[in-house]
């Protein structure tokens, strides 16, 4: 199986470069620079050093013994991306892109953010590299994630609220693309997921693939064999593609992406693109999208701001088509239950995004034999979500 996209960034029928002519020069410049630096030993060494010294890699593969005992099936391992600097997997991608942007002579980073984790990571890298930073965030998300907004400002970034459309992640992505068409020469769009026009899906996947590179080595060391399944949550899909990538050729390892079903895939209040969407073209790529019969993008919903996106990265769409990966819906209720479960049983408060994967692991582990293992990627930590979970449970708690 080949994992390299064609020159136009295709994953099966998915991917491509559906963007305004104004931006073609910028993505071509980026593609060329990335093609060069990914094989440049100085660049690779500097990124590796940043990951170790600054982000705290490798992240631990933690054997969740209490959870394993409680579920009574396969051994559960948690890949602890929540322990990275800034508290999520997002930093892996951002350090790569910021370093690349610096090599390209760019002095300004712009980014979209949903839950705020990618915005915080980008603001962090901008602070580290001495770059200017502007983060676009849906007005509704700014209210849901007020602490992260302040965190970004503390790091020196300007946060611009987006009121267009549904005022959530998709609108923040649209607005960041618009900003990029306004100002290109000194600005790099530090896209936060494995989506958008080529080369972003490939480049972001490569920067996130460190997750599965480490996890594969770690599980072989701990268990002496590969896991039965790797489970990760999927919004745009960057932590999931990073978690899957180095297991794709291990065809006995099930790859399971957990999407946000919101109030259920039989309701309109869902963001489960793979289970409810159809093939379309949006945000620079061909992939699956939640849309109506006339191609109008649907106003999706999830309790999780980071998964509240109507599309999915093109490589995931291709993995679904080929059957190599499975994509399952997880509801708000299941996610909140898993949030509380992991907090109590392991003393780990996970991000509301990541618990979509935990919720499915809770269902899957008991069905598998005890001599098998599963890896669940904990993509982020849950400090940012505590107030929202309290409100979900009817408590009047605000950030």
């Amino acid at each position: 199986m080949t994992n390299s996209p064609t020159s136009k960034g295709r994953f099966g029928v998915h991917g491509g470069q559906y963007i305004p002519e104004t931006l073609m020069g910028a993505v071509n410049e980026l593609e060329e620079a990335y093609g060069h630096y990914k094989n440049d030993s100085d660049f690779v060494a500097e990124l590796d050093d940043l990951e170790k010294q600054y982000a705290g890699r490798p992240s631990m593969l933690y054997c969740a013994e209490n959870m394993t005992k409680d579920l009574g099936g396969a051994k559960v391992y948690l890949k602890r991306e929540d322990l990275n600097h800034t508290g999520a997997h997002k930093i892996n991608n951002v350090l790569g892109q910021a370093l690349l942007a610096q090599r390209m002579g760019k002095t300004r980073l712009i980014a979209e953010t949903g839950a705020g984790q990618h915005g915080v990571a980008t603001a962090t890298a901008a602070a580290l590299f001495g770059m200017e930073c502007v983060v676009y965030m849906g007005q509704e998300d700014m209210e849901r994630q007020a602490l992260n907004v302040y965190r970004m400002r503390l790091l020196g970034a300007e946060v611009r609220g987006v009121t267009a459309g549904t005022a959530t992640l998709k609108d923040a992505v649209s607005e960041t693309f618009r900003e990029w068409t306004r100002r290109i020469s000194d600005t790099h769009y530090c896209l936060g997921s494995c989506m958008g026009p080529h080369p972003f899906p490939t480049m972001v996947r490569d920067f996130q693939a460190v997750i599965s590179k480490e996890a594969r080595e770690q599980i072989l060391e701990d268990e002496g064999k590969l896991p039965a399944a790797v489970i990760a949550c999927v919004g745009g899909g960057s932590n999931a593609i990073g978690s899957f990538y180095n297991f794709i050729d291990d065809t006995d390892v099930r790859l399971i992406g957990c999407e946000a079903a919101g109030r259920g895939i039989d309701t309109k209040d869902t963001a489960a693109t793979m289970n409810t969407g159809s093939l379309g073209i949006f945000h620079g790529m061909k992939s699956y999208f939640c849309q109506d019969e006339y191609g109008q993008i649907a106003p999706v919903y999830s309790i999780s701001a980071g998964l509240d996106y109507p599309g999915v990265g093109p490589e995931h769409a291709a993995l679904k088509d080929s059957g190599r990966a499975e994509y399952v819906p997880v509801t708000d209720d299941e996610a909140v239950d898993a949030f509380e479960y992991l907090s109590r049983i392991e003393g780990i408060i996970p991000a509301i995004e990541s618990v979509h994967a935990v919720a499915y692991a809770i269902k899957l582990a008991p069905t598998l034999p005890k001599d098998e293992s599963i890896i669940v990627t904990l993509s982020g930590r849950g400090d940012k979500d505590v107030a929202a979970i309290a409100r979900y449970r009817g408590e009047d708690l605000h950030d």
Binding site: Y18, P20, E21, T22, F177, S278, G280, I281, G295
Partner: protein, 279 residues
């Protein structure tokens, strides 16, 4: 080879687009191209606006088919798109409108849709192209389909004689050659960086871009993005084959709603007369 013989040789219906840029004596003439969003705030208003703009001197009409997330648009056209969608406007309504404009209103002026890739893709590219030809549409402008992705859309559209309009931008540089070499209908020259919307001044080297196009093809070039005053329209049309005005008109529709016909009419007349003064 002239455009007329080219399209005839392709064995399809002749595009009306060339006539917008051609005078009665066959010479080139400067074209004025207004834009409105279909269904903003109602289909009934668009059905009144188009004949009124033709009467006021429009040479080609650009019709926006609303899309939920128009990433190349500034706030003015984004809001128009939202109003149109809120009113329930669909792609089928847009086709039905063009059919009525041709058959019931006798509009012979070329009309093109400006919309986004997903609107065509979800409709089915061949089905869209067939319906476009059936109702008498002449072309489609897709700001999120660059030259690299053009064949997927161009092949089904060309098979029905519909021109997929190519865009060039101030960042196109050496790309202009390949874009212009297979351009059809007209070339939409994006005057400035950024999204659609009114600008105080246009500082790009528009002349240089047009010169680059001219070295490859005689397909006419019209300039859009940022034009709102007669002076800007004249300047841009003088440097090319025509001027496209969108946001300034759409803003009037936003302000006056169902009563906007006389305001738009007067404005289009002033711009069209200014541009035609160059002929």
């Amino acid at each position: 080879m002239t455009e007329t013989t080219q399209t005839r040789q392709a064995g399809v219906r002749r595009s009306r687009i060339a006539q917008a840029f051609t005078a009665a004596d066959g010479c080139r003439r400067k074209a004025f191209i207004p834009f409105v969003t279909i269904g903003d705030p109602s289909i009934a208003l668009t059905e009144k606006l188009v004949p009124a703009m033709v009467e006021a001197g429009a040479d080609l009409i650009e019709l926006g088919v609303p899309f939920s997330d128009p990433t190349a648009e500034g706030p003015v056209i984004q809001e128009a798109s939202n109003r149109a969608l809120a009113a329930g406007t669909t792609t089928d309504d847009a086709f039905a409108l063009v059919a009525r404009l041709r058959r019931e209103h006798g509009i012979n002026t070329p009309m093109v849709f400006m919309t986004y890739a997903n609107v065509l893709y979800s409709y089915g590219l061949e089905r869209f192209a067939h319906r476009a030809a059936e109702v008498g549409l002449d072309g489609v402008i897709l700001p999120d389909v660059p030259h690299e992705e053009k064949p997927e859309f161009d092949e089904p559209l060309a098979a029905e004689g519909i021109d997929l309009v190519s865009l060039i931008a101030p960042t196109s540089h050496e790309r202009i050659h390949s874009i212009a070499s297979d351009a059809k209908g007209f070339i939409y020259c994006v005057s400035s960086l950024g999204v659609t919307g009114v600008r105080k001044e246009i500082t790009s080297d528009v002349k240089g871009m047009v010169r680059e196009v001219r070295s490859v093809t005689d397909v006419p070039v019209a300039i859009g993005f940022g034009i709102s005053t007669p002076e800007q329209a004249v300047q841009m049309a003088a440097d090319s084959g025509g001027a496209i005005v969108g946001s300034a008109i759409v803003r009037m529709v936003g302000e006056h709603g169902e009563d906007s016909v006389p305001y738009v009419c007067e404005y289009v007349r002033s711009l069209a007369e200014a541009v035609h003064g160059l002929n």
